[in-house]
């Protein structure tokens, strides 16, 4: 086990095998390649994507299915091959997370266009940008967003 002191989550303990590796980092954070997922009961269903390279860097994420139960990745399988994902990979072997954005002046949003895809077994991950998808960078999570779909 290893420990990381973070300003936002306090002490995070993790083991080597739970490290998620982003070979290319994430857009705007290309040098950050190693992360861990942290879940706390008091903040469920949020999964904190905590950088191990920079303790101050942490994303709030949530599984895309929590926002859109019928969510589908539109990214071609070839783009995920280096994560260990191919046509035979089962959905339950992949974790697909939407990064959340909260601002003081408007409802929070979820980035459904560019989800973080993690292979649960290889622990390799990438933020996939699906420009040809119907999903938005800023899918609203507010009451307004929920009711507009009805």
């Amino acid at each position: 086990m290893a420990l990381l002191e973070t300003p936002q989550l306090g002490t995070v303990d993790y083991s080597e095998e739970t490290i998620v590796e982003f070979a290319e980092g994430l857009p705007a954070f290309e040098t950050q390649t190693r992360f861990v997922l942290v879940e706390r009961t008091e903040t469920a269903p949020i999964l904190f994507l905590q950088s191990l390279d920079n303790a101050e860097l942490c994303f709030l994420t949530v599984p895309v299915q929590a926002i859109q139960p019928d969510y589908e990745l539109t990214s071609p399988i070839e783009d995920l091959r280096d994560l260990g994902i191919d046509a035979t990979t089962q959905n339950e072997d992949m974790l697909c997370l939407a990064i959340l954005t909260a601002r003081a002046d408007r409802p929070p949003t979820a980035n459904l266009m560019a989800p973080v895809v993690i292979h649960r077994h290889t622990r390799r991950a990438r933020q996939v940008i699906q420009t040809d998808s119907q999903y938005s960078f800023e899918h609203p999570l507010g009451a307004e967003g929920a009711s507009s779909g009805c």
Binding site: Q8, P27, R103, C150
Partner: protein, 83 residues
């Protein structure tokens, strides 16, 4: 916007130092080869949007109350019976 037709293998020149060549093309995808000075940043345009969004997403972390609000929001949202 200037629009030019090019075949595979043909290229265009931008200024004195940049060449963009069409390497391959299919009905849904075009592969481009770019020759440019090392110090010139070349980005897929969606990467800039993704980068801006990611930067905006990290701002909330500094404020625990904002995280708590987000959690409340999310719990209401995901258990909303209308959905």
């Amino acid at each position: 916007m200037l629009i030019l037709g090019r075949r595979i293998g043909e290229s265009i020149l931008i200024g004195d130092n940049v060449e963009v060549r069409v390497v391959d093309a299919s009905p849904t995808r075009v592969k481009l080869g770019i020759v440019a000075p090392r110090d010139l940043q070349i980005l897929r345009s969606e990467m800039r949007l993704a980068a801006e969004q990611n930067r905006a997403s990290t701002v909330v972390i500094a404020e625990p109350a904002a995280v708590a609000r987000l959690v409340d929001h999310l719990r209401t949202y995901t258990t909303d019976p209308r959905r």
